[in-house]
Symmetry: C2
Subunit: 406 residues, 2 copies
């Protein structure tokens, strides 16, 4: 007998028929003798609908505490409905909201962090053989206000719950078959990755692979928890994610379109201009990435390029226009509609020639790179949105991801 | 400075525009220097939509605990959204769910009864000058499961809250102008009743006037709390309901269509047949009303007619067909599609000729009465659904309710 957490996303729980399919997966695990805790998302579309209503009432999104109360209703509905389906099939089940299960978070509304996961009462219920259906994406502050965990929050709930109840496995059911070597809608030859190390998955997720949220992978890595990503609607093995598993030379290509590029020219050398700029950006809560710094034609000057997320585009421009920063550079050029493309794999750190293969394949495809960043497991480049498809295909071919070799 | 509870129903909170109108009413009271606690219903339509989905998953409505979790989401959404509107207008406000406010109920899911209303924390928040927006219709059991209060539950929440926080007044905002002498869609001459005693309102509500739920009026009567029913969308005084107010000879006509009639013939005298039948019905949880009992043509026998609610139609027939009851009578005739029509007013108990006026006006209108019931404040008759409009008009005219006299 194992203890399993099964998480179902929004498209997996969109309507009554979907909920019946989820219940079938749950029943299979219960029949196999396992203890099952389930985490559900809000039905697809509901969160966006509520978000659109709130955007009209509170355009600057100032009232995040109330927004959390509103948004938490979707998971609540799905948890109750799924329990009904399970009970109609003859199983013992009950729903748990975040506050009922004792999921205490900090009070950072809209993107709260879990501090504890699952009360003794919740675990006792599992031990009595009941299926526990938990509302994902949400928790409660010590003061008793409902919080939400931000984007991908239900993945985080599932992993945190799995860690807290010492689950043997956490299965993420979703609307795709698993993790692919690249987006199959761009690269028809993209292959399902059957096994992947958690560190690689973290780089994939952090760099735009949408199948799993990076915070959830981070947590799984920290807790040494095995994940499986699999389809709700199709039979298949999915992708196993575990730190113990074999590592790939290059495991896949990820991309993220929501980027913005800022180019500054004519920064003076030797006065700490870049340091001052990034310090101010940090104070304003703006993350930057993909930094490129090079000499200007006048060698007493240098130029700076960096990327931010698209939602920070406005704030970053505003911040750089402040007098004390505006004096540090000559011109600013900010461009939305940029993308970050990444190659991920453990082989990148140990194999020579990987960076060369990355740059030369993009160059042959006629793709211009504005900035670059690398980590132990990843090479990323900033390109325009229009070049994403070309770049993904070029890299997928260059790193031989269409062939079943490692 | 007064302490006021303001309750807004589902049509009053159906969308963003409606919520802004509600906020306007709240702002007016706050500007007048009052402490304001607000109770909101779910947006119109949402409860029915969720009910329809659940009817497919749980057709026998067996899983009322989970249904309560699902249904409580609507008020949650409205509470959060209304607070956003109030804050955007510059007011201090926060939402409270039933469990946050400490509204403990029994565990009779689907129609729970409140045992306590409003924690000290909730009252402290009001004292600090914050507008408290409470989700109506719901509470929480001691064990921490969400409950709902059944039909009209938000009215009950509002009155219970008003009693618990010692409010000076409870205002019920709705989609009609107040309480009328009869349904204005049937009687165009129907007048708005400006002032009404709580006992009369209770009879009106119990006998089908939909504007206020009878449980809420009952509670207001018990707590000696003043109510006001008024329109969210139109300026106007509405109807004041207070036990201290002047009583009307006849205050209005109410009707309820969801009735069923059962006629039994050939019951033997002297063996307690009627008593046995009503005892069995009580065990089955079936309420009966409007009892008529008369001699049969064979004088050793008698006939019995009574009414039940339409939802009890099936169960009552099934119950009467059981062997130990079926032996007690000769024939049973059960008919759905019946209605109960009532004249309500304190004058009924003290004035002669009221019953005569009731029966003769219905007779002149060609309306057949199947059974009758009276209380101190009310005369009711069981008629067919088709005759409701005629009967309401005939009684409204006969009791001179179209004239501004008492």
């Amino acid at each position: 007998m194992a203890r399993i957490v099964m998480k179902f996303g929004g498209t997996s729980t969109a309507d009554n028929d979907c909920l019946r399919i989820c219940a079938g997966h749950i029943a299979r695990e219960v029949k196999a003798g396992h203890q099952v805790a389930v985490v559900v998302s809000a039905p697809a579309g509901m969160t966006n609908e509520l978000g659109a209503r709130m955007a009209k009432l509170d355009p600057d999104h100032q009232h995040k505490d109330e927004s959390d109360l509103v948004l938490s209703s979707g998971e609540q509905i799905n948890a109750g409905l799924l329990v009904m389906v399970l009970r109609q099939m003859g199983y013992k089940a009950r729903s748990w909201t975040g506050w009922q299960a004792g999921l205490i978070t900090d009070d950072n509304h809209g993107q709260a962090r879990l501090k504890t996961a699952a009360s003794q009462q919740f675990c006792d219920d599992l031990d009595r053989g009941n299926i526990a259906v938990l509302t994902g994406f949400q928790g409660v502050t010590i003061a008793g206000k409902i919080t939400t965990l931000g984007r991908g929050g239900s993945d985080v709930s599932a992993v945190a719950l799995a860690a807290a109840i010492a689950a043997d496995r956490c299965d993420i059911y979703t609307d795709v078959d698993g993790v692919f070597t690249a987006d199959p809608s761009i690269v028809p030859e993209a292959r399902l990755i059957p096994r992947l190390s958690a560190s690689e998955m973290l780089e994939m997720a952090s760099n735009g692979a949408k199948v799993l949220h990076s915070r959830a992978v981070e947590l799984a890595l920290a807790e040494n928890l095995d994940l499986r990503v699999t389809s709700t609607f199709k039979e298949g093995p999915g992708t196993e994610i575990s730190e113990g598993l074999e590592d790939h030379l290059v495991s896949g290509i990820a991309y993220s379109r929501d980027q913005s590029r800022v180019s500054l020219t004519g920064l003076k050398r030797g006065i700490g201009a870049a340091q001052k700029i990034f310090a101010e950006l940090a104070v304003a809560g703006i993350n930057s990435d993909l930094l490129a710094l090079g000499p200007a034609s006048d060698l007493t000057m240098f130029n700076l390029v960096f990327a931010t997320s698209r939602q920070d585009h406005g704030p970053v421009v505003e911040c750089l226009r402040q007098r004390q920063l505006a004096d540090l550079y000559k011109t600013m050029d900010a461009k939305e509609n940029m993308a970050r493309i990444s190659v991920v794999g453990l082989g990148l750190r140990s194999q020579y020639g990987m960076a060369d293969r990355f740059f030369s394949s993009l160059a042959s495809a006629g793709i211009i790179i504005d900035a670059v960043a690398t980590s132990e497991l990843r090479i990323s480049a900033l390109i325009t949105n229009e070049q994403v498809e070309n770049a993904v295909r070029a890299l997928h071919f260059a790193f031989a991801l269409d062939r079943n070799s490692k």
